[in-house]
Amino acid sequence: MVTPNSISRESDLSGGEYKWGFVTEVEQDFAPKGLSEDIVRLISAKKDEPEWLLEWRLKAYHHWVKMAKEQGEPEWAKIRYPQIDYNDIYYYAAPKSSTEAPKSLADVDPEMLATFEKLGIPLQEREKLAGVAIDAVFDSVSVATTYTEQLEKLGIIFCSFSEAVKNHPNLIKKYLGSVVPYSDNFFATLNSAVFSDGSFAYIPPGVRCPIELMTYFRMNAEGTGQFERTLIVADKGAYVSYLEGCTAPFRKTSQLHAAVVELVTLDDAEIKYSTIQNWFPGSKEGEGGVYNFVTKRGICRGVNSKISWTQVETGSAITWKYPSVILQGDNSTGEFYSVALANNHQQADTGTKMIHIGKNTKSTIVAKGISAGQGQNTYRGQVKIMPSAENAVNHTQCDSLLVGDQCGAHTVPYIEVRNPTARLEHEASTSKVSDDQLFYLRSRGISEEEAHHMIITGWSREVIKELPFEFAMEAGQLLKVSLEGAVG
């Protein structure tokens, strides 16, 4: 199988630098820079959207204008960045060739196919890809989705968001904004106004999706924001494992990424969502990089349902994301497994929210933060037990590792309990790589850098083992590449 990390194998790892930073020369169709009602209308028109969706976008747009005026961006996270000029961003950039949706791979711009090939994401449905269906998103526009036919036979819908709007409007109408309302927060509201594409998956009742579904995001055009939207619905008794990978070119200016992901599970359904986030982190000196402001939230609407988030966050100059689960159905389960790395000048403020509403709901949080260079890494997580959540259980474990004396590691849990039958435990620790462990490995002939890497990936194993197998293999590699130069 192919994952973003296969790329690391094919590239030269020795320099320890971002290997996915090339730019693809394709003809782009841009809307003018800046944000206005006209731009929102233009995006909607380009996509030939129904009136109700335009209305929804406009409601979001007006709400965002109000938010921008009254409150501005949220300030509670431990991140520092220069003021974002929202009028200096392209809100719509699409490869020109995609204005007519490709009917088959033969219609896809060869430059683009080559790009994904170079990233290790070949879109030909060939042997190498068996077991994964991919939706490839290039600058916010879905350029190709594989395996759709095979999936259709099972009643599984896996397509770009725009196609879903056209072909499955009722599902979109029913679920869009049902987990993350358009008014949710500054960045989600912005996304609701201007989102251009993304992925949609629907697994019908009783179906276990036999292959992994994957969306691969590629940011290419300069000065663009990427605003994709993902919606996954697992109907009663359904199961799906979904993977997300991302890269962007090396740019001196920062790029804004404000995505929204909504997950819905009905009775007895399960969604397993895995992310390897490897957006361009900026140069060693802290120039450029992606500002990753992402709202990811799932709702366990049905009884006995489950949502599990696993993330390996190595990229982006700024990461601001809190994949969350609203545990509404009785006996539902939420999980969050995370490894976040902040090296050089990266800043990560990431964690989760587990909102317990139903009875006997259970949540598990395992968060590992690695700080290196001058990186600042914050775990911020909320566990909220509502009065109705009888016998709710949460266990949280947060560990931080410091590599070098210029970085910072911070742990900020918010535990809010309004039911006496709940049981909550939160544990956290912060330390550096132990000298004893290092000496032990080195006394066996393992170099300092290799020893560090071995200890750090071992320490992260609890999270990495939650990833689908091939992703897990490559996640270790990615951690290694991202940490190169941080020790020794």
Binding site: Y440, S443, R444, I446, E462
Partner: protein, 253 residues
């Protein structure tokens, strides 16, 4: 093979010296034992030889195969063929013994200009050694040393010794906390590895391990110095009359 001359060492940031002019020489194929009371500096010596960063060498010379090694990092010393079986092996969460030993063996082979073993060859070697050393195969699927009992940790050290085939193996109180069966396994491992070009330095408080491994030379270490050197019979003397006489003599100095 190993030449130690007037070695002085102390704990980083501490004033008091632990090794106060230690000298000894180990030839190829020889088995040396260092015995001494608690606090004499035995473990410090073993760790200083591998370059543990907690200690600082104040003066003296240590050469291994005629090369001055004091400026080398621990991994560089290991690649040259030195090995320390730890008294208290570190626990390393999430790192499997298999993965760890493969990395160590690959590094050594690369240093020697050899190709890394294929996964298949390595696995075979590993499984054979696991069986030979008598380690529960389930144990090596766990994290390195994590949750291992004292005896299991020692066996795991012996497994590494057998896998890495060093030129000089230093056993730091490998016998402490072992029952007779485990002691025999350690001894068998050492004895089977004895060869004309491999040397051993066995650090121990008690004589009993030396019932199974017959040393060529025995040193008595007291207060950071070798106070007596002799043949295997010296170990028996200590066993019978203790360290008192040496301690008194050292204090009188």
């Amino acid at each position: 093979m190993l030449q130690v001359t007037d070695l002085h060492a102390s704990v980083v940031d501490a004033d008091e010296e632990i090794l106060k002019g230690l000298s000894l020489s180990i030839g190829a194929g020889e088995v040396h034992a260092i015995m001494g009371p608690n606090g004499s500096g035995k473990s410090t010596f073993a760790n200083v030889l591998l370059g543990r960063p907690d200690y600082v060498v104040n003066s003296g010379v240590v050469t291994f195969e005629d090369e001055d090694i004091l400026e080398l990092f621990p991994d560089q010393r290991a690649l040259r063929g030195m090995f320390l079986a730890f008294q208290y092996p570190a626990e390393i969460p999430g790192v499997r013994p298999w993965q760890f030993l493969k990395a160590a063996l690959d590094a050594r082979r690369e240093y020697a200009g050899e190709k890394p073993l294929s996964v298949r060859d390595f696995s075979k070697l590993f499984d054979d050694k696991v069986e030979a050393v008598g380690i529960d195969p389930d144990l090596v699927k766990r994290s390195l040393n994590e949750g291992f009992s004292g005896g299991e940790k020692k066996r795991n050290e012996m497994l590494q010794l057998e896998m890495l085939e060093p030129r000089l193996a230093i056993l730091d109180e490998t016998d402490s906390g072992l029952d007779v069966d485990a002691l025999r396994i350690v001894a068998e491992g050492v004895n089977s590895l004895r060869s004309p070009d491999r040397s051993f330095l066995i650090v121990t408080h008690y004589q009993r391990l030396l019932n199974y491994i017959k040393p060529d030379v025995v040193h008595i270490l007291v207060d950071g110095r070798i106070v007596e050197t002799g043949g295997p019979e010296l170990a028996m003397t200590v066993e019978n009359s203790g360290y008192e006489q040496y301690i008194k003599a050292a204090v009188a100095d």
